[in-house]
C-alpha cells in the first residue's frame, strides 16, 4: 500500500512479460525423495517447493485414530531463507491456517475409508517463495499422494487468481500478490468438477469474482495435464528400470 507500484508494462503485459491469463513456467518432478512413500517437487516462477507423503501408517497415539477411515496430518512450512527477510522457522499464524486449509483441500481427494485407524502425513516445504506458494504446494502434494500409491478420487491442481491495477489476472507473482487488489487461491478437480480450496482476500465485485473463477478453472485444467504428464514420466522410468 502507500506508494503506487507499477504492475503492468506500457504494452499491457505484466512485469514478467506475461499476458493476463498466462501461467508462469512450471516444472514438476514426481518421486524426488528417497525416504518418503511419495514425493514431488514443483517450480512455478521462482517458487521452489517440495512435498512428501508418509503413510498410511498406524495412527499413534491411538486416541487420534478414527475407526472408519484414515486421518490426515498436514504441515505447510516456509524455510527461513525462502523470503527476502529471514522468516522465523517457528510456525506462524499464517502457516498454521494454511496447513489447515491445505488439509481440508486434500482430504476430499483421498479415499480415506480404505485405511481405517491409520494416518497419512503430508509435508509441504517451501524452499523459495514467489507468491502463490499454497497453490503450488497443493499441486505438488496431490502428486506426492499419487506417487505414494494412495487411492485418490482424482487429482487437483491449484492456482491463484486475482486483480491488479483493475485487471483480473491468473497466477499472481510475489509483486502482484503484495501490491494487487485481490488474491483468490483456488484448487480444482476437473474430473469431479469440484473446488476443494477456495479463499479470497482483497476487493472484487461479483462479476470480477466470476471472471476470476472461470480463469482459475481454465488454468487448473492446464496444470492438471502437466500433473498427468509428470506422473506418466515418473512411472515410465520405473518400468524401464525393472
Amino acid at each position: 500500500m502507500g506508494e503506487h507500484v507499477v504492475l503492468f508494462n506500457e504494452d499491457g503485459s505484466r512485469t514478467d512479460g506475461r499476458g493476463l491469463d498466462e501461467l508462469r513456467p512450471i516444472r514438476i518432478k514426481v518421486g524426488v525423495l528417497s525416504n518418503a512413500q511419495g514425493s514431488a517437487y514443483i517450480e512455478q516462477g521462482k517458487n521452489k517447493i517440495l512435498a512428501a507423503v508418509y503413510g498410511p501408517k498406524e495412527a499413534l497415539p491411538k486416541h487420534i485414530s478414527l475407526p472408519d477411515r484414515c486421518i490426515l496430518r498436514c504441515r505447510y512450512h516456509m524455510a527461513p531463507f525462502s523470503t527476502t527477510e529471514r522468516k522465523s522457522p517457528a510456525p506462524s499464524r499464517r502457516e498454521i491456517e494454511l496447513s489447515m486449509v491445505l488439509r481440508n483441500a486434500l482430504e476430499p481427494l483421498v479415499m480415506t475409508s480404505l485405511f481405517p485407524r491409520t494416518v497419512i502425513d503430508i509435508f509441504i516445504e517451501v524452499l523459495q517463495a514467489d507468491g502463490g506458494t499454497r497453490c503450488a504446494g497443493l499441486t505438488a502434494a496431490v502428486l506426492a499422494l499419487a506417487d505414494a500409491g494412495i487411492p485418490l478420487r482424482g487429482l487437483a491442481a491449484a492456482c491463484a487468481v486475482g486483480k491488479a491495477d483493475g485487471k483480473v489476472i491468473v497466477d499472481l507473482n510475489d509483486l502482484e500478490d503484495k501490491y494487487g487488489e485481490a488474491d483468490m487461491p483456488i484448487a480444482y478437480n476437473p474430473t469431479l468438477d469440484g473446488i476443494t480450496l477456495l479463499q479470497m482476500d482483497g476487493i472484487m465485485s461479483k462479476e470480477e469474482v466470476e471472471q476470476a473463477l472461470s480463469l482459475a478453472i481454465t488454468a487448473t485444467q492446464k496444470m492438471h495435464k502437466m500433473q498427468v504428464d509428470a506422473l506418466r514420466e515418473r512411472f515410465s522410468v520405473q518400468r524401464r528400470e525393472t
Binding site: 496430518r73 491456517e97 489447515m100 473446488i195 482476500d201 465485485s205 473463477l213
Partner: protein
C-alpha cells in the same frame, strides 16, 4: 501440524433428520434455509474497553472489545496504525473448547475477521499515524466466544465492526520527543459496514447461518464477506468436501441479497445515531 478434526458424534439419526428436513426446505429449529437466527447487539458492554459489543446470534454469544494504545509501526507500513484481531475460544463456552495455546480454529477465525475488516478498508489505518515511523495508534480487537452454537464467523464480524464503530480514541499529542496521552477523546471513523454470510452444505443443499448441529453434520462451510457497496472482501471455504463452481456463483448472488438485510439488522444501532 494440522490434523483431521474429531467431530463430536451426533447421531446418524439426527444427521438423517437434518437432511430429510432440508429436502423439504425445512430446518430442525423451524427456520427456512436462508433465514438467520435472531440477532441482538449490546453496544458498550465492557466499559473498560474503548469500544465493545456483545452479539447474540441465536444461542451463539460473542463479545468483541477494542483496546487502544500506541505502538511503533511495522517497518513496511511506517505511516499506518496497527490493527490486530485475536479470538479466544473460551473453555466455558463449549465442551470442545480447551484451554491452552490458540487452536487452528481460533487462528483461522481471527484471521478471517481481520481480513474482513482490513480488506474492506473499514478503518483508515493511515489516519491512525501520530509520528511516522515512530508512533502510531494500535487497535487490538479481542473476540471472546462466550457460548457456542455454530456460525462463529458471522457473529464475530458483526461484534467486531460494532465494537469498532463505537470506539472512543484517546487523543495523543506530540510534546518534543515524547507522545503523551490527553484527556480528550475522538471517535474512530468507520468507513464501511462489512457483513459475513456463512453457508453450511449438506450434500448438494445448503443453509445459511448454521446452528451447531448443522455445522457438525455439514460437509463444509463457505463464508463470504460483503461490503456496503456489494463488493466482496473475503471468501473462505472451511472443512473438506468439494463445491462445484456454479454453486460458488450462486452463493455470490445470495450473499449480495442477504448482505443487505443482515447489514440493517446487525448495524441498525450504529447507523441510527451512535455511529
Amino acid at each position: 501440524m494440522s490434523i483431521t478434526e474429531q467431530k463430536p458424534i451426533i447421531s446418524k439419526l439426527e444427521q438423517q433428520e437434518l437432511r430429510r428436513l432440508l429436502a423439504e426446505n425445512k430446518r430442525i429449529d423451524g427456520r427456512s434455509p436462508l433465514q438467520y437466527r435472531n440477532i441482538n447487539v449490546h453496544l458498550g458492554y465492557v466499559e473498560k474497553a474503548e469500544g465493545s459489543a456483545l452479539v447474540e446470534l441465536g444461542n451463539t454469544k460473542v463479545l468483541a472489545a477494542v483496546k487502544v494504545g500506541i505502538a511503533v509501526p511495522f517497518a513496511d507500513t511506517p505511516n499506518e496504525g496497527i490493527l490486530i484481531v485475536n479470538a479466544e475460544l473460551v473453555p466455558l463456552a463449549s465442551p470442545v473448547f480447551e484451554p491452552g495455546p490458540p487452536s487452528e480454529e481460533s487462528i483461522s477465525l481471527s484471521r478471517y475477521v481481520d481480513r474482513s475488516i482490513r480488506e474492506s478498508k473499514s478503518i483508515d489505518l493511515s489516519s491512525l499515524c501520530i509520528v511516522p515511523g515512530r508512533s502510531v495508534y494500535s487497535l487490538y480487537v479481542d473476540l471472546y466466544i462466550l457460548d457456542y452454537d455454530g456460525n462463529l464467523i458471522d457473529a464475530s464480524v458483526i461484534a467486531s465492526v460494532n465494537a469498532l464503530g463505537i470506539t472512543n480514541m484517546p487523543k495523543y499529542v506530540v510534546e518534543g520527543q515524547a507522545v503523551k496521552k490527553t484527556d480528550e477523546y475522538f471517535k474512530l471513523e468507520l468507513k464501511d459496514h462489512p457483513v459475513s454470510i456463512t453457508y453450511a452444505f449438506l450434500d448438494d443443499k445448503y443453509v445459511v447461518d448454521p446452528c451447531l448441529n448443522e455445522e457438525y453434520a455439514s460437509d463444509f462451510t463457505v463464508s463470504m464477506t460483503v461490503k456496503s457497496d456489494d463488493r466482496f472482501c473475503a471468501i473462505q471455504k472451511n472443512g473438506g468436501g468439494m463445491i462445484p463452481p456454479r454453486k460458488v456463483i450462486e452463493l455470490l448472488d445470495r450473499s449480495v441479497e442477504l448482505g443487505k438485510e443482515l447489514r440493517t439488522v446487525a448495524y441498525g444501532q450504529l447507523t441510527a445515531g451512535n455511529g
